[in-house]
């Protein structure tokens, strides 16, 4: 396991970037610019619905491995009830996942 340094949010963000690399491995373009502002949802994201599903699962599995307990990254009541989707960009997804970590750890 590759232990990441930094705050939980920074760790989660780097795991999101790794997951992006994984799901874009076989596609064209193979890479997108990765930053907290990287758009994940909508036509400008470059991710179709299947890639988005793959991304969420890849992020969820990476976060579980890194932190050592299961989480529900998006099939989650809190995610569904938010007015603005946590999937808007890499930063909002990292914020959301970081916010559910304490509860998931229990």
């Amino acid at each position: 396991m590759n232990v990441k340094s930094g705050s939980p949010r920074e760790k989660v963000l780097s795991l999101i970037y790794e997951a992006l690399d994984e799901i874009l491995e076989d596609s064209d373009p193979k890479e997108i610019k990765k930053s907290p502002d990287t758009v994940l949802l909508g036509p400008s994201s470059g991710l179709d619905s299947l890639k988005l599903v793959n991304l969420i699962v890849a992020v969820e599995q990476r976060v579980e491995e890194e932190f050592g307990f299961p989480i529900s990254a998006i099939a989650n009541e809190r995610a569904m009830s938010q007015k603005a989707s946590p999937l808007r960009n890499a930063g909002t997804l990292a914020d959301f996942i970081t916010s559910i970590l304490p509860e998931a750890k229990k």
Partner: protein, 235 residues
């Protein structure tokens, strides 16, 4: 674990058909992970048992987390866990309805979702359990048959949603077997029920595993979204 050993998860393995399937598939060389609400009173080679209520989402997620860490793969999921309750609708409390739907529908849903997350890299096979009671519209089985009708819909739609991941989703619909689920049913009622089948006899465990074997065959990768009923009952 040998590299080519396939990993199978079966729910409801403490007794009845689930226990039979655990014995059958470990004997065929699968690594089988079983679960039920209470501990299993048997031991098998290549078998591991978890105590979990299939509708308890956090606990089920822990089982999958452990499974992924330990084996890193899941090839087959058999959603066998199920409960029934024969009763006239006028005598059926809501708590019974909730209990049946929790195990039969929500349990099946959670296991399908979590299994698909692991299977999606390499493909996999999911087999759900319906029942002949659904197409036969059996009186006294309104809630049980409704819950299994939901499982049929789930099977048909997940087959489409998971096709891109090379995961097939099918269901077997048994006619009455001699298990705890049918033990309380009066003989005359059972006879009438069996008389509605094209082939009039009790199903045997091997009839069920035969259908599952077909769904698991390598060559069955073009078979998905199907429900196979036993005994000539048609959907």
């Amino acid at each position: 674990m040998p590299l080519n050993e396939q990993v199978m998860l079966i729910t409801g393995t403490r007794k009845g058909i689930g226990k039979y399937l655990a014995e059958y598939y470990t004997a065929k060389g699968f690594r089988v992970i079983g679960c039920s609400r209470s501990p299993a009173d048997f031991r098998l080679e290549r078998y591991e048992h978890f105590c979990v209520d299939v509708s308890d989402e956090p606990k089920v997620k822990e089982v999958f987390f452990g499974l992924r860490k330990k084996y890193g793969r899941l090839d087959v999921l058999i959603n066998n866990a199920g409960i029934a309750s024969m009763n006239h609708i006028l005598l059926t409390p809501v708590s019974t309805v909730q209990g049946i739907f929790n195990t039969n529908v929500i349990g099946t849903f959670i296991f399908c979702r979590e299994a698909a997350k692991i299977m999606k890299k390499t493909g996999g096979r999911i087999v759900n359990f319906s029942t002949a009671a659904t197409p036969l519209r059996l009186e006294g089985e309104a809630i049980y048959a409704s819950s299994k009708a939901a499982v049929v819909s789930l099977t048909e739609i997940l087959a489409r949603e998971l096709a891109d991941f090379k995961i097939t989703v099918n269901a077997v619909g048994p006619t009455p077997l001699k298990t705890d689920l049918t033990r309380g049913v009066p003989q005359d009622k059972m006879d009438r029920l069996i008389n509605r089948q094209a082939i009039r006899r009790f199903a045997e465990f091997k009839d069920v595993s035969n259908v599952i074997d077909f769904f698991l065959k390598k060559e069955s990768d073009f078979v998905t979204g199907q429900v196979v009923y036993l005994g000539g009952v048609t959907g």
